[in-house]
Structures are given as structure tokens and as C-alpha cells.
Amino acid sequence: MTATQARPAPMTRGYRFELVKLLSQWRVRLLLLVCWIAPAAFVAAVSQQSMLPTDTVFGRWMHATGWSGSLVVLDFACSWALPLLTSLVAGDVFAAEDRLGTWRHLLVAVRSQRRIFVAKSLASLTVILLLVAGLAASGIAGGLLAVGNEPLVGLDGHLLAPADAAGTVLLAWACVLAPTLAFAAVGLLGSVALGRSPMGLLMPALLALVLQLAQLLPLPVAVQLALPSHAFLAWRGLFTSPAQTGPLLIGLVVSLVWAVVAAALAYRLFLRRDFTDLAYDGSGRRVLVTGVVPLAGLVALTFAVVAAVTPAHGSGIERAKLQDSLATVYAHLYRLQARELGRPDVTEARLKTTASCDKGSVRVADEGPGNDWRCVVSWHLPGVDSVGSAIYQLDVTADGRYVADGDGPKEVNGYFQVRTPTGDAPNPLWQFDGDVDLLADTPEGTVHASHASAPARPGNPSWASSRTYRPQNPPPRG
């Protein structure tokens, strides 16, 4: 009596089974519910408040357009939610079988470790995509319903028409799928390597925490770009014109490489596992050898490649680039303010805006992140001989984002509101966000950093203040 060898279960059935198992878990159902409802509620509620989350990028525009709410959700998700979601889904998908004691049962049914791995990975990826889609769709819906489909102010101050805003917002959400995949793959690796141990579940979250701490440090830009979490920040570059595609593309590639390498490590470890060994329960040493060391090696390799093939050097935050960025944002937002105030429109080219920045004291090099940047923005108005100027304090973070805080004159940027013909409105020049392209070449000819004198300190009478500000049409007074 002979029998044919049993064939492995078809992949689609294995995938469906894994999906059913995941979706039957109360934890996953709760996550889905939260991801599809909470962002809409949050955006709708916060958009109506007078206090906006200005510490989050695009937060200060939540009252102005429905698209900014989704970007606030995206920024928050990149910090915490996405790594946590990958932890709770991918970080548990293999460990759950260890906890339930179902491995042998599953192997007998499927008869292929390779197919089990692929089915589990695809099923967890599907659930993660559903969760991310929920976050995106819910945030957008909440914003559009509560505020409306209005133009979005980009990170260089230019206005994106609603259609452009929609496309760019969706593209930004699509971009963060790459680092999400990387964290999901790390979750798979932790789940395979550590079995029932909760440490496996926490691996993506712990990695996110470590990387966030690293991103707070003034690391060389090549190191920042070599981290798998960089694409969680680099999507912001889509909201400048032209888009900062260099850091974004590098971030996407690095994330995808991480996803492939971590998934391959998990796959190899899974195929080597002996399922008749009842004593198996993962080990810290295994994680170190099969996970941490190869991934640390990947960071080193990526750093070397990025440093070799890109113009990245130093922190990527240089005085000239910062001045250029600030002048650009200011010019765009000046036009916005002019429109609010009912003044005649003037193009950025005619404004000829320049900025002059200084970091700290004379002993500190004008380079790198910090909250001690001080800049003076100057611009020309058509038909007026004198030059207008305004002062800003800049808080620049290592990832290139900065918040410019207006220091006066009051009529331009020293007060949070402006008086418009229809009433008080937020002053776009009072505080705004900007983003320095970490990989951009130092601009030439736009801003004359080397020729510009350092901005005056507060109290320095040489600062032009309102004496040099000659608005063509002063804000109307009631």
C-alpha cells in the first residue's frame, strides 16, 4: 500500500486562514475601530478649538483646511502609532502560535513552513495596511467635514490647491508605508526569535523609541538618513516646492532594505526552527545574533553608502540653506497675509526677500540644530525705496524642521492675529513651520549670507524694527 505525498495547503487558503485568525482577535478589532474612528473625531474636535497643536507640523493650519488634520494625524502616527501598530500585529503573529500551542497543529494542516511564513507575513501586512488606511481616511474625512476642502499651506509657505493638497497628502501617507513595512518586518523577526516572550512584541516599539532618541541628537545627516525611521520624517519634504525628494527617496530605499533584510532574517530563523523541540521558547542570545547584529551592520553599511553617494555632510543644517528656506517661506506667507489684509498682491520675485541668520553667539558656528537661531528677514515692496525687515527666533531640529517665531515688528509678525476687513484672523507670519533640505547644496546667489551682517540682538537699537518697515498698506484699523 502506497500513498501520494501530501501537498502543502494552497497559499491563498493559508493567507485567508491567517487573516481570519487575526481579525477574530479582539485586540485587532479594537485597533481597527480606533484607527477608523478616532482620527476623525480628534481632527474634527481639535479643528474647532482655539488652541491648536502648533508643536506638531501643520497643526497651526488645522482651522484653515481639512487637509492639515490628516497631516497632524500622520505626524503623530509616525512618532508612535505606526510602530505600536506593527508591534501589536506583526510582533505577535508568530508568538501567538507559541502561546496557544498550535504550531504542530498548523504545520500538520499546512505542511510547509515557507507557506506559513508567507501567509502570516501577508496577513499581518494586510491588517497593518487596513489600520494605516483607517488612520488616513479617518483623519481626512474628519478634517474635510469639520473644516472643508480648502487650500493647504505647505512647509515653504506656498499654497497647495485642494486637488494638489489631496494628492500630496495621499502620497505622504503612501510614503510612510515603507518605514511601516520596515518596522513590521522587525516585528516579525522579534515574534519569530522570541516566541512567547513579550519582548518580541515590543521590538518595533523599542526600536522606534531608540530611533526617536537618536533623531533628537545632532547626528551627521548621513547617519540620520541611514536610519529606517527617516522616511517617517522625510515625507514633509513633499510639502515644499520643489519637493525635497532626495532625503525622501533615500529614506524610502533604506526602509525597504530594512524590510527585506529583517523579513529575510525572520524567514531564515523560522525555517531553522525544530517544532518537535518542546523546550523552544526563544532567547535573547538568538535575537542578538540573528537580529540586532545584522541590523546594526545594515545601519553601518547604509551609512557608508549614503556618505559615499550623496552630498551629505555635517548636520545638513547650514546657515545659507536655513536663510534660503526662511526667506522663501516668508515670501509666500507675506503674500498670504497681504491677501488676508486686502492689500494688492505682489509676487515673491518682486519682494526679493532675503534672510540673515546667526546661531548663538559669535563663538558658535552657524551650523546645526538648536533653538538659538536668530534671523532677520528683509524684503522690498514695489515702488518703495526702503527695505522692510522682521526678526525671527528659530528652533531648528536635527531633522531639518524649524519653527520660526516672529519677534516683531508687531504689525508684521509680532502678534498672533491680524485685523482683516472681515475681522481678526490668525497672522500667518507670526509663527510658521519650515523645512530645510538636509541634502540640498548650499544655495548660491539667493541669500547673501556671507555678506549679510549678523542680526541684531534684542535691545540693539541698530535693529531696524518698525523704522525700516514701511508697509505699502498698513493694516486697517477698526
Partner: protein, 318 residues
């Protein structure tokens, strides 16, 4: 009726690091046979069952299942089903969902198979309940139902009666017996000799990875040697005196407490017969005479060295 071989293992070895789980194990199971695997904890039963299910591959020796050599993991032929180390079900799914998913994985999309399996193990009434609330016995029965989905020719079960109440046990025994009657070979492990006695025609006893006995149950019982018997009489002192006078019969020292009146004797059946005759002749009423352990259990303890009890001169009952 000539029964065809379903399992043929020769010189199977399997180690986990320095631990030798199986050491030159031979096993023959024919179709329609219910074969019991028994042994103390760590004897290698689950490892052997895992090899039969294809969960691992042996380090050495040869294994043929349903006439097909098994040389690598997960490469057992069609027609093998079962479970080791618990039935392995998903608590967040209902009983029906568990079985439907498994049926789908095995390419058995026939919805009737799920219903039939549920009916076979008596779980139709709770088919739509999540198994999170199931008792251990109900899970065991559902695990058996999962194994029945594909009409197996070799059914491998690890402790199938574990956690079952008497009714559930009868149910499971009936299913296994019916399967065997229809030609399915069943290999099951159990710690309970009474389960093996009720189900199995042959048993293999494992100890520290080696086969110490393999054959019919009746032959195993013969391996038990001299048994210890509990003797409860109307006059313990007189009975003790009579027992000491019977040639070939040993009397174990008595115990204090509630068993103080119980006499434990050890010897061959003829000597026991003589003891009974003498007691009756002396007017001592016999209220109970029974082996302290069953012959199968005694054989198991003797073969595996797991008994560790005292001899007649050391005193105490087991």
C-alpha cells in the same frame, strides 16, 4: 484478514542537542489496528508521534508511512492526521470556524465534512460557540474532529482522553473503535493503562527513548510478574498468620491508620488460591481481594523501572 502495514519504523533515532529522545526505535502498525504508546514522561512518545505526523525528521533509521518513505519534515503522505501536545485550536474562533478553516487548508471544502466531524464527536450543539469557553475535554473532542476531517488512514493522537469525563471518554473511544473497524490505523499515547486496555490491541512501551516492550496487551500483562494484592478480611490478625503459612506467598508489612486492617501479599496465583482456601477453612471471611495495581500497570512499572516501590521486607503498600 491480511492487514497492510501503515507504519514501519526501523532503528529510529532523534536527539535534541545532547538529549537523546529516541534511540533505535522500531514500530509496526497495521491498518485497522489501535496501537498504544506508553512510557513515563520524557520517554520519547511525543517525539515519535511528531515524526509520524511529519513535524520533524529522524536523525537516523528509516520510516515508512502508508508505504511511502519519509525522509524530510512535513513530507508525510496524504491520509495522515492527528495532533500532538494538545489539540491546538484557536480560542478566538468558534468550533465550526476552526474546523472550516482546517478543512479549507486541507483542500476539503465540502461543508458536510465539518458537520459530520462535529456530529461524530458530539459537539454539534456548541458548534457556533467560541472555544475559549470550552473545557479541556471538549477541546480534545474538537481536536479529534479536526483529525477526522480528511478521513485519515493513519490517525495519530497524543493523550486523546486527557481531560475527558466518562461520557466524553466513551464517545471518543467509540469513534476510535469505529475508525479502526473501518481500516484506519490509530497510534495513540496515554498515561492511563485502562484507556489502553479499552482501546488498544497492541502497545509499545518506551523508556528513555528505547522500546522496552512491543506486542499484544495480553503479552504485556504477562510481563507483570508477581503482583501485590490487597486483602481485607473479618480477622486481620488470623489472616496474617494464615498468609505467612502459605508457601511462596510474601506478606508486606502493614500500615497504620485507615489501612491498618489491610493485608498486602505478593505471590503467584496458585499461592493466592491456597490462601483463599485456607482462610475460608479457618472461618475468616474475605471482604476484598484485589491487585494493588492492574497487571498492565504493574508490567509498565516493572518494564520502565518507574515503580520504585518497596519489596516485601521493606514494608508498606503501594
Amino acid at each position: 484478514m491480511q492487514r497492510s502495514p501503515v507504519v514501519r519504523a526501523r532503528g529510529i533515532t532523534k536527539s535534541f542537542g545532547d538529549v537523546v529522545a529516541l534511540d533505535g526505535v522500531d514500530l509496526d502498525v497495521a491498518s485497522g489496528q489501535v496501537h498504544g504508546l506508553v512510557g513515563p514522561n520524557g520517554a520519547g512518545k511525543t517525539t515519535l508521534l511528531g515524526l509520524l505526523l511529519g513535524l520533524a525528521v529522524a536523525d537516523g533509521g528509516s520510516l515508512e508511512i502508508l508505504g511511502t518513505p519519509v525522509g524530510r519534515a512535513l513530507a508525510v503522505p496524504d491520509g495522515v492526521a492527528g495532533f500532538v501536545d494538545g489539540p491546538g485550536l484557536y480560542p478566538s474562533l468558534t468550533a465550526r470556524q476552526n474546523l472550516t478553516a482546517l478543512a479549507s487548508l486541507r483542500g476539503n471544502a465540502d461543508g458536510g465534512a465539518v458537520e459530520r466531524a462535529l456530529e461524530q464527536v458530539g459537539l454539534t450543539d456548541v458548534a457556533d460557540d467560541r472555544i475559549r469557553g470550552f473545557s479541556l475535554g471538549m477541546r480534545q473532542r474538537l481536536g479529534l474532529a479536526a483529525a477526522l476531517l480528511t478521513t485519515p488512514r493513519l490517525l495519530v493522537l497524543d493523550e486523546p482522553a486527557n481531560g475527558l469525563d466518562p461520557a466524553g471518554k466513551r464517545h471518543v473511544h467509540r469513534v476510535i473503535t469505529e475508525l479502526a473497524a473501518n481500516g484506519t490505523a490509530v497510534v495513540l499515547s496515554s498515561h492511563r493503562m485502562d484507556d489502553l486496555a479499552a482501546l488498544c490491541s497492541e502497545v509499545t512501551v518506551l523508556a528513555t527513548g528505547r522500546v522496552v516492550f512491543s506486542g499484544p496487551l495480553s503479552k504485556l500483562a504477562a510481563e507483570s510478574g508477581e503482583l501485590d494484592y490487597r486483602l481485607l478480611t473479618s480477622d486481620p490478625a488470623a489472616a496474617h498468620q494464615v498468609a505467612e503459612g502459605v508457601t511462596g506467598l510474601g506478606v508486606l508489612p502493614g500500615r497504620d491508620g485507615p489501612d491498618a486492617d489491610v493485608l498486602v501479599v505478593r505471590g503467584p496465583v496458585p499461592a493466592l488460591d491456597e490462601l483463599v482456601v485456607r482462610l475460608v477453612g479457618d472461618g475468616v471471611a474475605i471482604r476484598e481481594l484485589a491487585p494493588v495495581v492492574t497487571p498492565l500497570e504493574a508490567a509498565f512499572l516493572a518494564l520502565t523501572g518507574a515503580g520504585g516501590g518497596p519489596g516485601p521486607t521493606e514494608g508498606g503498600t503501594r
